[in-house]
Symmetry: C2
Subunit: 127 residues, 2 copies
DNA sequence: TTGACAATTGAACAATTATTGAACTATAAT
DNA sequence: ATTATAGTTCAATAATTGTTCAATTGTCAA
């Protein structure tokens, strides 16, 4: 995950178009309404975090119940290591939170928007 | 974009966990509530499409007004080629639609969920 | 037809990323 | 203390992906 970086070869601020606008008025009217670069990076980084099958499964599972890493690993048929890596990504994105309990670390959802967004996305996916 | 494939090294069906469940009851109670693999792939592919700064910009722009490729290229300061590549991704994901008009191809939003999802995502991003 | 412009496409490259396996930390039980 | 278990982290690897550049297609105008 890049969190605040650019994708392969992307450099949003300094790119150059290779053509003139057909409808320059329109373009210049819209330009000020475009989001700030910061907002853009945050938005696409958020979706990048959601854009992974393992992490979607983790969110889905945690929507059912909080769970420790090992249980999540069994549920998803993955190694603890792989699960831990992805949980870290989700935690950094503030989508899940962790709480140490004895030998275990219990993970739980940390954002009430997630369920909402997942539902909307499902609506789209199901035509 | 992989649309229906797996990410680097991912093989959702045949992975192996490296541990036993702490709370097997919980795991087995949740398992049947997990989404089907198909749904999962579709969901994460949808988010993958949204998880790119260029594509977010394109969606945002098209939310303001339909536009041809050249205008989008000028607005985003990118080459027509790069824009066209990303529009194709969005079109395949059924998020935008294209309509030929003379020498130009006019792109427009094709999904009423997108605005909604973008808004929810913004809420999250802005804490 | 010829030339110019708009857009798409394919190959290639650089960068990013998810998993693996091993090493490491921390906690609990004996 | 020692052992075992839970989880994290590091390095390496294989795969994916966004942009660039060049070539191509399609459309309009002269």
């Amino acid at each position: 995950m890049c969190y605040f970086g650019q994708k392969a070869g992307v450099n949003m601020e300094n790119k150059k178009s290779d053509c003139e606008a057909i409808n320059l008025d329109l373009v210049e009217r819209i330009r000020p309404n475009m989001p700030e670069m910061n907002t853009l990076y945050e938005l696409s980084d958020f979706f990048k975090v959601m854009g992974d099958g393992t992490r979607i499964q983790l969110l889905w599972a945690l929507e059912e119940s909080e769970m420790c890493v090992g249980d999540l690993a069994v549920l998803l048929n993955m190694t603890k290591s792989a699960v831990s890596h992805q949980l870290k990504v989700l935690r950094t994105a503030k989508l899940v939170k962790a709480q140490k309990k004895g030998k275990n670390v219990i993970y739980a959802l940390d954002d009430y928007h997630v369920k909402n967004i997942l539902e909307k996305a499902l609506e789209h996916v199901r035509e």
